[in-house]
Subunit: 337 residues, 4 copies
C-alpha cells in the first residue's frame, strides 16, 4: 500500500517465554496437557515459529544437568538469543514462599537459586533476570504479618541486585495465583518497593494480562513505570479479566492491547514484544504465530494513527472521537493481511 | 447450656472428596505441592481425620490396577463408606472435552470411563455417581457452536442415566476452570439441562464455592434445586469470590455458609455435609478437621436460631433485624467450643 | 467492493431505549449529569440520530400528564415507532421491591403500573412490554426467603401475561444493580421461571452487557433462549465486565459483540438491534450514532464471514482457526467506512 | 467476665460521613430512595444514633446558604464535632473531571471549591479535608493521556496542600465509580502520588470497602500507609467484593474487618472509627447503630486475642492456627452482647 511505502517500518523484536512451548499441567489434568518437553525441545519449537528472535529461559534447565553449551548451541541453530533467565522459585520447595518463606533456610535457597540463574544469565548475555515470586504472599486473612512479608521481599531483591550490579532484575507483578494474594501485586506497589530498595538495576516486567486482570489500565501502568525509568520488560497475552488466562494476544481486548503498545511507542520505550501465552489446548507453535500476527498488525497500525487528531481528542478527553480515530488505524492495518 | 439440653442434636454425616487428601499440582509447582499419594494412602488419611463417615472416590484408582477389594478393606478399616465415585473425565485424554470433545471417539471414551465408574459405584453401594465435566466448554469467542456442545452434553448424560437406571448421577456445575467457560456453569442452567433430559436419576451436586464465585447466592441456588427435587449432593469450602479457591469452610464467608445450611435445613434436605477443600499448603488432615469444626458449630447454631423472629424479619425483608438474629445464633454456638 | 455488490444487504432495524437520551443521575452527581429531559425532548433527540427507527418508551411519561397523542405526534414527526413500553417499577415507591415488595399493597401497585403501561403499549402498537424488576431481589445474606421472592415474581408476571394475552412481556434479567442480587439474574434462571409460568407470551430481553458481566457468553445465552422460542428482544452496549457500564457498542468487546450477532443471524432471529447505552459524559446523539456505526459494520461483516470455514473450525473446536476467519471478516467490513 | 474486668477498655471514637444520613439517588430511582434531607436534618439524625462523636461534612452545605453558625449549633446540640469537610467535587459541574477536567476553568473551580471547603474546615477545627476526586479518571480506552491526568491530579493536590499548610488533606482512593477508572485507584498508587508531591500534610483516607473491592487486603494496605506516615483516616463498611456496596460493617467480611482493625491497633494507629455506609433501603439511624454495634464488638475482641499465639502462628504463616485463635477472640467478644 502506498501509505505504507512512505513509512519506514522497523519491525519490533519478537520474543517468548520458553514455557510457551513447554508442557502444561493444572490441578485437574495432573498428567499434563501433553507429553513432557525438555528445554532443548522447547527451544527447537520456538525456532519453528519463524518470527521469534529472543526467548526467556526458565532455570534450572530441564533436565537440570543439561549443559550451558548445549543450550547455547540450540539457541544458535534456531536463530534465537536468551533475553532473560527466569529462576523457578515457585516449585515444590517454594510453595510456602520463596523470598518470604517462613523458614530462613528456604529463603536462603531461593536467593541462591536466583543467584545461580543470574550467573547463567550473565554467561548467556541476557538483558535481565526475571523475578517471579508467585508463591510469595498469603492465602487467608490473618495468615501472615504483611509488614514482615514486605521486608523479606525487599531484602531479598536488594541482596540480589547488590550482588549482581552488572545485571538488571525485573520483578513480574501479579494480583494472585498461585498464591491467593501476592506481595508484588500491582505496578504501583512494585514501584513503591523498587523505590524503597533504591538501586538502579531493579525494575518491572509488566505482563499485559496481569495488569488488565488486576484492574489496571496496562497503558496507564506502563506510563507510570516508564516515567520512573523502571519498565524493564513486557509480556503480552489476553484474558477474560477475571483470571490470568494467558490467551492469544488480542483475542479479547484488541483495543486495549493497541492502547498499551501505543503508550509504549509514545513514551519512547522500545524493548522486546514478548509473548507469555499458555496455549493449553492449542498447538504451541501455531499459537505463537497467531500472537505474532496480531502484534505485527498492531505494530503497523501504530504508524497509521492520526496522532495529531488523537492528541486533540485526548486533550479534550473525547472518548467518541478517540475511538473513531483508533479504530480507523487499527482496522486499516489489520485488513491488509 | 440448658438451651441445648432441650434439643436433640443429631449430628450430620460428614464427608470429603478423597482428593482433599491427595497431591496437588498446578501450572507453577509442576512437581506438586507434595509427594504423590495413592488411593489407599488417601483413604488412610481420611480415616485419620476422625469425624469423616463417607468419601467420594475418584476413579480410576491410583494406581489403576488397585483392586476393589483392597479399596473396600481400606474404607472399612477407616470406618468409611464410599458415598460417590467421580470418574476422571478431565485428565490428558479429555483436555479438549469429555462429553463435548470434537472427536466422537473421545466422547465415547468419556462415556465408557463413566460407565466403568458407575459399575464400581454400584459395587461400592454409593449414593451417586458424580459428573464433573470441567473440560467441557470453550476458551475463546467463536471457538465452538454452543448448541452442539449443549446437545453433546445432554446426550451423554441421558445415555448414562438411561444405562444405569438404578444409580443417580449428580452434575457438579461451575462457571469455569479448567475451561474458560463450562457448559454446566450455573444451578439454573444445569436444571434446564436436567429437565430437558427428563430422567428422574439426574440431579445437581451444588458446590458452595462454585455457586458463590459464580455470583449466585448458594442458599437461593439450593432452594431452587430442592424445589425441583434435584439437589442430590453438596460440597462445601470457601473462596475470595473471584476464583474457586477451595479454602477451609467458613474462613471468609461464615454468614453465607450459615445461610446455605439454614436453607438446606429449612427445606428438609438432609444429605451429607461434604468437604471439597484444596489445602495446597496445609496439612490435609488438619484442614479437614478445621472445616468440620466450623461445620459442627454451624450445625449447632441451626438449633439456636430464633426461627419465628427470623421468619418475621424475612417476611418484612428487614436485613438489619435478620442479621442481628443470625449473628446471635451463630456466634453463641461458636463460642461454646 | 465487488464482494459486497453481490450480496443483498438488508439493514437491520435500529432502535434505542428512550432513556439513552434522558438525563442521568447517580449517587454522586445527585444534581444530574445534565439538565432534565422530558419525554418529548428525548424523542426529538432520538429523531436527530437519523438511523433509529424504533424506541422503547419508559412509562409514565415525563411529565406524567403528557398525553398519548402528543407522544404519538412526536414519534411521527421523528419517523419513529414505539417498539416497547418499559413501566418504571424501580423508582422511589418500589425501592424495596416491585413484584417482590414485602408490602402486598406495593406489589399491587407494581402490577397496576405495568398494566397501565401495557394498555399504553397496546395503544401504541408496541411489540412487547418490557419488565425490568431491578429492585426485586435482596442486598444482604438472610434478608429474604428466596422461595417467596421467586413465587412473588412468577405470580406477578403470570397475572400480567394472563391479563394481556394479546401482548408479549419481555423480562430483562441482570445479575445485580440496583439490588445487590436480582431474582431474574441470568438467562437460564429467567428461562426456568418462564417455563414454570407456562404462558406463550412471556420471554426474555437479553441485554448484551448484562449477560457479559454476569459471566455468560451472550452468544450462548441467545442460542439457549432462541432454542426455546423465548428471545423476544435484545439490547446492546458494552462494559469492562465488572459492572453494567452501558458503554458504546463494541468499544471493549468487539469480537464478542460480533459473535453475539452472528449467533442471532445463524439462528434465524431477526428482531431489532437496540441500543441501551448510558453516555453519562458524552453527547447522547453522537453516542447513539457511534453505536449504530459499529452495529452497521458488524452487520456488513456478517455477510463476509466464510461460513463454511467457520463451521469447520467450530466443528473441530479450533479456536485459532475460528479467530482468524472472524477477524478477517470483521475487519474487512469495518475498514470500508 | 473477669477477663474483661482486668482490661481497661478505652472505646474508640466513632464517626460517620454525614451522607450516611442523607438522601440516596441512583440512575434508577432518580426520584431518590427517600425525601431530601438538609444538612441540619442530617446532623440531627447523626445525633440520634447516640454513639457517634464526629461527622465528616460535605460542602457546600444543603442548602448552600446555610450559615456556619447554624451548623456549629446543630453539631453542638447533638454532641458532635466535625472531623472533616468533604468538598463536593463530583457534582454536575465536575462530571467530566474536577482536578483533571479538560477545561482549565473547571479545574480552577475545583481547586476553589476545595479551598472554600478548607477554610470552613479550619473554622470548624477539623482534623482534615477529604479529597474525593471520584470523577477524575477515564471511562474508555484511549480517552485520555494518563500522564496528563496524573500531572493534573498531583498539581492540584500540591497547590492545595501548599496553600493550607496548617491543614491535612486526605485522599480517598477507589478503583472506580463514578468514573470507570479513577486516577487515585489504590493505596499504593496514591502513596506514589503523595511521595511525588512531597508535602507532609497529604495522606490517605483508606475506605475498607474500596480497598477490599479493589483486590487489596485492607490490613496490608493500612500497614503500608502507616509505615510511611500517611494513614490520615479510615472509613468502614462492607461489600460483596465486586462493587462498592457500602453495606453495614461486618455483614459479609467479618474476619477481614477484624484483621483490618487488628492491623491498625498493632501499628499503633488510633484515629476515628468512621462509618461510610449507604443504607439505601434501611433506616439510616438503625443502620449506623448496627455498624457501631459490630465495631464495638470488634474493639472488645482486640483485647481478647492471644497475641503471643497469633504472632507465633503468623511467624510460621500457619493459616489454620491463626484462624482458630482469631475466631476464638472474635466470637467470644461478640457473644457477650
Amino acid at each position: 500500500m502506498s501509505s505504507h511505502s512512505r513509512i519506514d517500518i522497523q519491525e519490533p523484536t519478537f520474543g517468548a517465554g520458553i514455557w510457551h512451548f513447554g508442557r502444561y499441567v493444572d490441578r485437574y489434568a495432573t498428567d499434563g496437557y501433553g507429553p513432557p518437553v525438555s528445554t532443548l525441545e522447547a527451544i527447537d519449537l520456538a525456532g519453528q515459529v519463524g518470527d521469534l528472535s529472543v526467548v526467556d529461559l526458565t532455570f534450572p534447565f530441564d533436565p537440570p544437568e543439561l549443559g550451558l553449551d548445549e543450550v547455547k548451541a540450540a539457541l544458535e541453530r534456531n536463530g534465537l538469543r536468551a533475553i532473560a533467565v527466569t529462576p523457578e522459585i515457585y516449585t515444590r520447595r517454594f510453595v510456602r514462599g520463596a523470598f518470604t518463606n517462613p523458614d530462613a533456610e528456604v529463603r536462603r535457597q531461593a536467593v541462591e537459586l536466583v543467584s545461580r540463574g543470574a550467573e547463567t544469565a550473565r554467561e548467556l548475555g541476557c538483558d535481565y533476570v526475571k523475578l517471579w515470586p508467585g508463591q510469595d504472599g498469603w492465602d487467608y486473612p490473618f495468615q501472615a504479618d504483611h509488614s514482615e512479608l514486605w521486608r523479606f521481599s525487599l531484602d531479598a531483591v536488594r541482596e540480589l541486585a547488590t550482588a549482581f550490579p552488572d545485571l538488571r532484575f525485573a520483578i513480574e507483578y501479579k494480583p494472585r495465583e498461585p498464591r491467593n494474594s501476592m506481595v508484588f501485586s500491582s505496578a504501583a506497589k512494585t514501584l513503591l518497593a523498587i523505590e524503597e530498595i533504591g538501586l538502579p538495576n531493579v525494575g518491572i516486567l509488566l505482563d499485559f494480562g496481569h495488569s488488565l486482570y488486576g484492574g489496571e489500565s496496562p497503558a496507564d501502568a506502563a506510563r507510570l513505570a516508564i516515567s520512573r525509568g523502571r519498565l524493564f520488560a513486557i509480556d503480552v497475552n489476553d484474558n477474560h479479566r477475571g483470571w490470568d488466562d494467558d490467551m492469544v494476544v488480542g483475542s479479547v481486548h484488541l483495543t486495549e492491547t493497541f492502547e498499551f503498545f501505543y503508550a509504549l511507542r509514545d513514551a519512547g520505550w522500545d524493548g522486546v514484544w514478548q509473548l507469555d501465552q499458555f496455549p493449553f489446548r492449542e498447538n504451541s507453535v501455531e499459537a505463537a504465530r497467531a500472537g505474532i500476527r496480531v502484534m505485527r498488525n498492531i505494530h503497523r497500525a501504530l504508524d497509521l494513527v492520526d496522532r495529531e487528531a488523537l492528541a486533540a481528542a485526548q486533550k479534550a478527553q473525547d472518548a467518541l472521537a478517540a475511538q473513531r480515530i483508533v479504530q480507523q488505524a487499527l482496522l486499516s492495518s489489520l485488513v491488509e493481511r
